[in-house]
Assembly symmetry: C2
Homo-oligomer: 336 residues x 2
DNA sequence: AAATCTTTTGCAACGCGTTTCAGAAACATC
DNA sequence: GATGTTTCTGAAACGCGTTGCAAAAGATTT
């Protein structure tokens, strides 16, 4: 075990008394090699704990079987990190990649991610890129896609996007939330979220759409929330309540954290929830189910999301130009 | 942009009218190359968006500048995933690795991770391994370490561990929780956690230690919780309450999720929290601060954790045998 | 047994940087 | 101007698999 030089394919070849190409072919289960030879080579390789040097391999082949995944954790300074949902999404992607025997190179984008991503790609660090959370980088991503950079993005598809986007059916999500609130006899709705993000705008649109088709007059407010932390949401809720003459009776928040923050702020202001105000969140993060009150929310299937993201990317790698896709989106009703 | 053949170092050499080795040295900022030449080469390389083929590079050099990180998400079937704290830890590790220009290869261990890990290492997929959550795999890890497999583990150090372990000061964490509960005049404590995990045993020990040094008689119960999901914890809490004649007035749970589950179960049983029972969790996950009631908990500094894990591993890679280390551990008191 | 076709195997080249070592160029010393 | 140093550059080899192609071995046909 303690040889200082790593064991190579040449060693295996010598031990098996065949040539190096034969070993290579045997390990790759090539039909060119006789079964008996294959067995012998494999046995010897196993016995010696041989593993192909993947850099030599990747150098020669042109595929690296590695997918870069970009996930914005948020910075140390900001302190707060991505929505817990992103973790589940990462989990789904990880599983899907694992099933396809692809390595997962995790990248936390920094200030100039453009350069970083390009570098990874140009240097053959990965065959393609999965971006979890496009944020406001649509232009960059479009530019990437234009230069045949294989990528797939989690989010909402822009009309002019020339790359494949996989995401929750945000419009439907908004509709589901809207219908739920209207069914609860709510008439004055509040949407909480930064509509400069395409996903969040679609959720708002879905809400508005349902409200407009409703036979009664529905009032819809909107609070633009530019910071994703709980504390910022809480503060925003406070300010909103201070400024508003009458408070809404239904809230649809762009994520569960914001929903929880608004619930807390409203409660702290003496408003009863769920009696006076119904609230719907988004993502069904783990704590949503046991928040007090249990949070009604919109769930996305993160495992399906992972699978779809990965399979789309594989098609991109094959030269296809797959269509964007929507992930199963459903209301999880937790009214007590 | 659309040449089908990727640009190589030879191309840059030709364009800069120097030899390939000179380009290599210029890109690596070697003192052997004249500054003027360096500038010229770099300019040309930049202009053409050249990036070193990292597989050729890694093949030749013996370091890959890649660190594998093993993170157990839990399986699709189980559905539930790792503690949110793991996400923060991953974030910390990611940041620390990024600062050192190391790539992060994310591995979700499967049924036979032993083989998987070995393969990664033997195949030069990574220089070393960071294991987030050793679980019950101490033997495997010991075996790994014995064969000069560079690894660092997040968790608690076993007496016989021959690898470096970085983790929260679990004993201190238990003490902090214990002191907090005793300060609140609690006399009948309950520890919730699977003490077959070394970390969780230490937390229990810390609690017991403080109780024993206390001038009054303290009763300590223990519930072994083998499933990490909220629902399982809730069920366990229910069963515990059904079986117990009198309930405890202080709870220390091995993580925040379990703490929340116990709080909910106790409340659902008509027990007032925090009036009747004080509860302390562990990890300070994002939702802890805005759970109702706000959860008092033990916080670990995940960024420091990431930094320490990475720097220890770097020392292992340099042939050192660094000592295990404890991470800053503090009580976050959120009594209202 | 010779001729033909298949199935297996091996030689040599290749992919793309890095490193060793020798040699050229530039500069200093006498 | 000859000699010795120091600084810089390039030729060639190397790291380790994979692949094109030719050759060997074996099977089949005549």
């Amino acid at each position: 075990m303690s040889e200082n030089r790593a064991i190579t394919m040449d060693d295996i070849a010598r031990l098996a008394k065949v040539s190096k190409p034969t070993v290579s072919r045997a390990l790759n289960d090539s039909p060119l090699v006789k079964q008996a030879t294959k067995n012998r080579v494999l046995a010897i390789a196993n016995k010696h704990g041989y593993a192909v040097n993947r850099h030599a391999q990747k150098l020669r082949r042109k595929r690296t079987n590695t997918i870069a995944v970009s996930l914005d954790f948020g910075s140390h300074q900001q302190g707060h990190i991505a929505d817990p949902f992103m973790f589940e999404l990462l989990s789904g992607v990880s599983e899907a990649l694992g099933n396809l025997n692809q390595d997962l190179l995790l990248c936390a984008p920094t200030h100039n991610d453009t350069e970083a991503f390009r570098k990874i790609f140009w240097s053959r660090g990965a065959d393609g890129l999965i971006v979890l959370g496009q944020g406001h980088r649509e232009d960059m991503l479009n530019e990437f896609a234009a230069t045949a950079f294989p990528l797939v993005v989690w989010g909402a598809s822009a009309p002019n996007a020339n790359y494949c986007v996989v995401g929750s059916d945000n419009f439907l999500g908004g509709q589901l939330a809207g219908r739920y609130l209207l069914r609860k006899q709510r008439r004055h709705l509040l949407y909480v979220g930064d509509t400069s993000f395409r996903e969040l705008k679609l959720r708002f649109d879905g809400l508005v759409n349902v409200a407009h088709e409703y036979p009664h007059d529905i009032e819809i407010d909107r609070v633009e929330l530019h910071n994703f932390s709980y504390d910022a949401a809480y503060e925003t809720a406070k300010r909103y309540l201070d400024a508003a003459k009458n408070h809404p009776d239904g809230i649809f928040a762009f994520n569960d954290t914001a929903a929880m923050a608004f619930i807390s702020a409203f409660r702290d202001a003496g408003i009863r929830i769920p009696e006076d105000v119904s609230v719907v969140g988004y993502n069904d993060i783990p704590t949503a189910a046991y928040f007090t009150p249990n949070l009604t929310t919109i769930r996305q299937d993160c495992y399906q999301a992972g699978r779809v993201l990965v399979s789309k990317l594989m098609r991109v790698l094959d030269g296809d130009k797959p269509k964007s896709a929507l992930i199963k989106t459903e209301l999880i009703c937790r009214e007590t």
